[in-house]
Subunit: 206 residues, 2 copies
DNA sequence: CTTTGTTTAGTACAAATGTACTAAAAACAA
DNA sequence: TTGTTTTTAGTACATTTGTACTAAACAAAG
């Protein structure tokens, strides 16, 4: 990949994060890089292409960070690690979160990919859950669809915590990411067995 | 309020909900109503004013519906009624939910009002919670900030369930609103005592 | 050196949008 | 009726934005 192309992506990401997607035009990016719009357009014929390229960067990043964090610590720990590292990745590309619905609406490619992604995540989630139940960390379902609903909630929380945070404060700091992953992860706590709770208190809340 | 003014608000709401805020210009609204843009501008000098007017309609609607639904049924029931009726009100003004962050970012007035609103809600939430605990429906906190975090999650879920839903399916139906209020309300379930659970199973999940 | 392909700058254009402004029409009051 | 205010239509404008197009500069290969 040429240097200019990399620079464009890097600068776009920075500006998108800082000012929001709709406040950054191609001219803004070009100006900031001291290159012409024509040049920028040579590398990305359409504005969409920049956004899509960034999306797939993000996906890649999340994938590798999940693999890493799921091997560290115990069964319960790795479950929480995944949430946290996902949130951290999203944080680096936070403009996606802040204009999530807009992007999904306008970018066919991203929408299609994201839908598939959720399916995979759901599968992974239920695999982990089954494992946790089998090992006595998590209680069985009491209500029908109880864990399915939990997954839906976790999904919403992962996708929109940043939007919510941005309402309360102008900028999102890295520290807030950690706070929110705590908040989200705590969704699991009341479903834990005694054994699970002990584990939780020992490792997570510290 | 003049008839034209009402019509503008009504038609704007309809179009915003159907096509999304950014796909509806003043001309769109005027055309659809068979009036001139000049006329529309006589009633609303700025585009913002339409959106703000709709926002305060919504707030009013939520307020009255909360009062109504909180008197029906028992203590636990009324708690869930509030969630459901809030979601239903939001559903009628769903364009807000779909472009929530954008609107909050751009509309100083709305942002300020919304921040205050959240504070009031939090107060109400904790009042209800205390009541539920005192009456033995809800267990005490085990973790520090456990219920504060629960509130944060509920807040995010209420504000962004529609955004999430819109990713999965093009249109949001009224039936989906009821499904999602179920999903959201179920957040409370694992915190209930035995007494609370019995009550929950008797009345809510049916 | 010449040729060929890549990269860059510059210009121009079409479309959309919010909004300001003017004047006509309608409604209303005296 | 006459005068005044409210309501409506029409036009025009400034701005922004994505993008198409052309040609120059540059790099690399033969």
């Amino acid at each position: 990949m040429s240097n200019t192309k990399e620079n464009i992506l890097e600068q776009s990401l920075k500006l998108f994060n800082e000012r929001g997607l709709s406040n950054v035009s191609l001219r803004t990016v070009a100006d900031e890089l001291n290159i012409s719009v024509g040049n920028l357009q040579y590398h990305f014929k359409k504005r969409e292409h920049i956004i899509e390229a960034l999306y797939f960067q993000l996906v890649k990043k999340i994938d590798t960070s999940i693999v890493k964090s799921s091997t560290l610590g115990g069964m319960l720990q790795s479950f929480f690690n995944i949430t946290q590292s996902t949130l951290l990745s999203f944080f680096e590309y936070r403009f996606f979160l802040l204009d999530f619905t807009l992007i999904i609406r306008q970018h066919e490619k991203i929408r299609a990919h994201y839908k598939e992604l959720i399916k995979v995540r759901e599968q992974q989630f239920f695999n982990s859950l089954t494992l946790l139940i089998e090992n006595g960390f998590l209680r069985e379902e009491i209500l029908p669809s109880e864990y399915k609903n939990l997954f839906i909630r976790l999904q919403i929380l992962s996708d929109f915590w940043a939007s919510s945070a941005s309402i309360h404060s102008e900028k999102i700091s890295k520290n807030m990411v950690l706070e929110y992953s705590q908040v989200i992860n705590q969704s699991i706590f009341p479903y834990l067995t005694e054994k699970g709770r002990i584990q939780y208190l020992k490792k997570i809340e510290s």
